[in-house]
């Protein structure tokens, strides 16, 4: 199912999307598949699977550590696509940095995404100005190039992004890097409002999912009041990092936590 159809399906059920992020290969490639299953059982609608890069400038300390550990354990693009292809029962998107896409070859990378049934590609260091070559290739495939909009995005830039956006828009909730935060940023409401207004005026509706700093049930609830989905990453990785004594305990906690978040995406 395409990402936009996934959002539509959820809408019919009066639900918003819970999007869960994990770093592939952290702590191991085998465990990634199990963690993905636990997330799916916990109700995650879209799985964002990170392909780690050596220099992740948009990531906070939790995902940095996971990336470094995953790379040290031997994660690479070939292995990544194998692991991703094996994960079933959830819509998948890939998050990585542009250099990895570039070195594999844009066409090869997108082709590998499609073969692994990855429906979207998020590249946080590829702004709309530089996106033309990759965008052109994505158009020939079922893989959407997902763009980000931040609180500092000007109207002019927002318009450029909306022109080419598909799948969903990754709304960055705050100024900063990824990572769990205690409080939800209060810029979300006006930011979402602004994007929706522009979407309306252009008669184009791409779903809006909010990420960065979303780590608690109440965050997910608030986000889902205004947006179409909530993205939770570092909070899941922290559970994996803690390990909780055994793989079994860790996987159970991931699933339980996902379930608790998923509840908050249902409109009552």
């Amino acid at each position: 199912m395409s990402l936009e159809n996934k959002f539509k399906e959820l809408e019919k059920k009066n639900e918003k999307a819970l999007i869960g992020f994990i770093t592939a290969g952290y702590p191991t490639a085998e465990e990634t598949s199990k963690i993905a299953d636990a997330l799916t059982k916990g109700g995650v609608d879209i799985l964002e699977l990170g392909l780690p890069f050596s220099d992740p400038i948009a990531d906070g300390i939790t995902i940095q550590r996971a990336s470094e550990s995953s790379l040290n354990a031997g994660m690479n693009p070939d292995l990544y696509f194998n692991v991703a292809a094996g994960i079933k029962g959830v819509e998948k998107v890939c998050l990585t940095y542009y250099n990895l896409v570039l070195q594999r070859g844009l066409e090869q990378f997108v082709n590998d995404c499609e073969s692994a049934e990855i429906k979207g590609l998020i590249v946080p260091d590829l702004p709309v100005e530089e996106s033309k070559p990759l965008l052109k290739i994505c158009k020939g495939y079922e893989t959407n190039l997902i763009f980000l909009i931040a609180p500092t995005t000007t109207e002019k830039r927002m318009a450029k992004i909306l022109d080419v956006a598909s799948g969903f828009i990754y709304v960055v909730s705050l100024l900063g890097v990824t990572g769990a935060r205690e409080k939800l940023s209060d810029t979300i409401r006006p930011l979402i409002g602004g994007i929706k207004e522009m979407e309306l005026s252009r008669d184009k509706h791409v779903p809006l999912a909010v990420g960065f700093g979303i780590s608690k049930r109440e965050h997910v609830r608030t986000v889902c009041e205004v947006a179409d989905g909530a993205i939770v990453g570092s909070a899941f990785i922290r559970i994996v990092e803690e390990g909780l004594g055994s793989e079994e305990n860790m996987l159970r906690e991931v699933e339980t936590f996902a379930k608790s978040l998923k509840k908050e995406t249902k409109i009552v």
Binding site: D55, N99, E130, V177
Partner: protein, 397 residues
């Protein structure tokens, strides 16, 4: 063949703005502010005055008599080691701190490798009354303790960076993360001609003073342009600074010298142009040291300022076009030049600059037949910061 970036900040295929969305509007604002102030008389007057009275410009173009006699060419040294702080870095930090002031950003952040850019940033911030925080890899903090102490004396806060290779590359990552978080009140002062557009342009413009002065000075003393200009290349700021005003003088050969570290064949080096491949790092498309998947490799050089797995996009472009010839020099060769310059001329060069000195001597020897070959070397910094590194290397022998 002056290279000017296009509207996307590209030099040919190099450069651009591969930055997180959060920073894009700040980069646009910076470009607009730079364009408006750089041609503004009150701005250039203020900067010129600081360069003259505070930084100690113009720096001299020194005829290295003993080195010349020994090698057979006429070798001049552009004495950037005499700039306040001990390196060319202050030319750029004064310029950018003035920009920050005009943009009403009170907090300056910067990355540093060898610590020279950190020190120069701390100085400029102190004199212009700005807050200053410096990111520095823990590996570099270990290698350059003296500069850490200097930065702290100058009122800067030094934040250790313990991720990745714990060197300059990671200090840049951490600075970008800080900037993403504090973009509204913070100015990120990049120290070399790297990073997303407009940084490579801004830093080159503020370093161009080196080449402008050199041209005037060499015409005055020799009555002609030099045959060759040689500069070391880490990110490439001292090289772009001295090269730029000679780009259109086709008869002047421009040579960049990268760090070959333990030898290019060992893989332990910092030679991104000589031995790297194209890719995206730190917001720019350039030549990088990376593996086939695109993961960035650790660079190596005993000169911390050349220990970086990327290079400025404009320099990568000029190297591709053939206008700048690139070479590399190992740690061991550099050490010989370091000792030689100290003994023959009484100048202890920065290890970075000693790479260029070594290559100049080689060039001079090669050009012996052509009499009166005229070589200018950019002596980008002084070597006081390196004495412990050198002591360690010599002690091992």
């Amino acid at each position: 063949m002056k290279s000017k970036p296009d509207e996307y900040g590209k030099y040919g295929t190099y450069g651009g703005k591969f930055a997180p969305e959060v920073l894009m509007s700040a980069l646009e604002e910076l470009e607009a502010v730079f364009n408006s102030f750089y041609n503004d008389e009150s701005f250039t007057e203020e900067l010129d005055n600081l360069l003259r009275t505070y930084a100690g410009r113009p720096t001299s173009l020194y005829f290295a008599k003993n080195l010349s006699e020994m090698s057979g060419a006429r070798i001049y040294l552009k004495r950037e080691d005499l700039v306040h702080g001990g390196a060319h870095k202050l030319n750029n930090t004064l310029g950018q701190c003035l920009l920050a002031k005009r943009m009403v950003k009170k907090r300056i952040i910067a990355e540093t490798g060898a610590g020279q850019h950190g020190v120069a940033t701390a100085m400029a911030a102190a004199v212009l009354g700005l807050e200053c925080e410096i990111y520095m890899g823990t590996e570099d903090i270990e290698r350059q303790k003296l500069n850490v102490f200097r930065m702290e004396l100058l009122g800067a806060k030094v934040n250790p960076v313990d991720s990745g290779s714990k060197t300059l590359k990671d200090a840049i990552n951490e600075s970008m993360r800080d900037w993403v978080t504090n973009v509204e009140n913070t100015y990120y002062l990049i120290g070399s001609v790297v990073g997303p557009h407009p940084y490579p342009l801004i830093v080159r413009e503020f370093q161009r003073v080196i080449g402008k002065e050199t041209k005037e000075q060499v015409l005055e003393t020799e009555g002609r342009l030099p045959d060759t200009i040689i500069a070391c290349v880490g990110g490439g700021s001292n090289a772009m600074g001295i090269f730029y005003d000679f780009l259109e003088d086709k008869e002047v050969e421009l040579i960049g010298v990268e760090a070959a570290g333990k030898g290019l064949e060992t893989g332990e080096h910092g030679a991104s142009i000589c031995a790297g491949t194209e890719g995206v790092l730190h917001g720019m498309y350039s030549k990088l040291l990376q593996d086939e998947d695109g993961q960035i490799k650790q660079s190596y050089s005993f000169a911390a300022g050349l220990d970086y797995p990327g290079v400025g996009p404009e320099l990568a472009y000029l190297a591709d076009s053939g206008r700048v010839r690139m070479n590399s020099v190992t740690d061991e060769e550099t050490l010989r030049a370091f000792e030689l310059l100290s003994r023959k001329e009484g100048i202890i060069p920065a290890l970075e600059s000693a790479h260029a000195i070594h290559f100049a001597i080689e060039e001079a020897k090669a050009a012996k037949e052509q009499k009166n070959s005229l070589i200018v070397v950019n002596l980008s910094g002084r070597g006081d910061k390196d004495i412990f590194v050198v002591e360690g290397v010599l002690g091992d022998k």
